[in-house]
Symmetry: D2
Subunit: 108 residues, 4 copies
């Protein structure tokens, strides 16, 4: 379901630079954590972050997520929807509504 | 460009559970870092990770990224492509080809 | 057991700059994750990291850990030893020896 | 300056389980990020975290920091103090006092 054009662009970008050699799943997973922390840094001392910086860092996290999905032959939107269906079963709305305690449980 | 159906599904899921109250941009940024670390955990002691677990954790990172993008009125695929265009200008293919040193610079 | 001189130095540094106002436990926890990712960045594309950079980033992670411990009235070395005693009971050496599977379990 | 007894205990724990084989600097750096995210999880939806859980997760972050320091022949307290001396020079108290903007700069 994810627009194939995005993957085409990413693949071309990586190929032009000969960077596929660095993109093992493990290195991409490290990169996602590193970029996620740069996104978190926008909120390090205050909840009031600079929107342009947030947009920029979120784009970096997403880029590495798409590169990892492509590497593993996964469709990002499809795996999000599949996980959502699993979570719906596990945490029925009527049991966890508005509860942060149940929400914490959901995180585990 | 991102399929609007994905956002519809995510919004319905959150609304049914009355969880929007927890989804401040700061909390979503924390959540992205937390889920990124669970993805990294698949590779903690070895590069050889369980594909089903990786798929599951990548879905969680993406879910929180989509929730943050939706909160900020951003289209995930559009910001990835915009950032890619910026990076293309900053790191021309002929100057950084195959170089991990230049690649590191790209990370900064 | 941690040398009290280290805490004295850290407290003086923070007080001179009037930075205690930023050091809530939550902000310090975010800071530890952010600095941990900068340490991880030394190993992003290769296991062969620059020792001076690793030392520098590890010092940053430790600094925020000490600031959080001090904030919560905890002795860093004491909590490490207490946790180690708990883990010894949970994962007896004769049951997990050399096993990365059990080691993974230990992470949960 | 760090109490050598802590390192002795950690080394014995690792040796009894034959786990040194997993403790490359890269794996320890990944582990520090993973445990830092578990600490952050205590604050995921609220600033009001459970003290016992925070203590437990902080102990895990510190344990992997000590294991990495030991691996690299570094004294944790010494590198914290050395970094502090560098930062004092870079950010004189009279220039950055009470400023969160300058504080952000300090993070870079």
């Amino acid at each position: 379901m994810t627009d194939p054009g995005v993957f085409d662009e990413l693949r071309a970008f990586v190929a032009e630079r000969d960077w596929a050699q660095f993109h093992t799943p493990e290195n991409l997973a490290k990169s996602i954590s590193i970029e996620a922390a740069e996104l978190l840094e926008c909120f390090q001392w205050s909840a009031d972050a600079d929107p342009a910086r947030v947009r920029d860092e979120l784009a970096d996290v997403l880029t590495y997520c798409l590169l990892l999905a492509d590497k593993l032959g996964l469709d990002p939107e499809a795996i999000v929807l599949e996980k959502l269906a699993d979570t719906r079963k596990k945490y029925p709305a009527d049991k966890v509504k508005g509860s942060s305690t149940k929400y914490d449980a959901y995180e585990d």
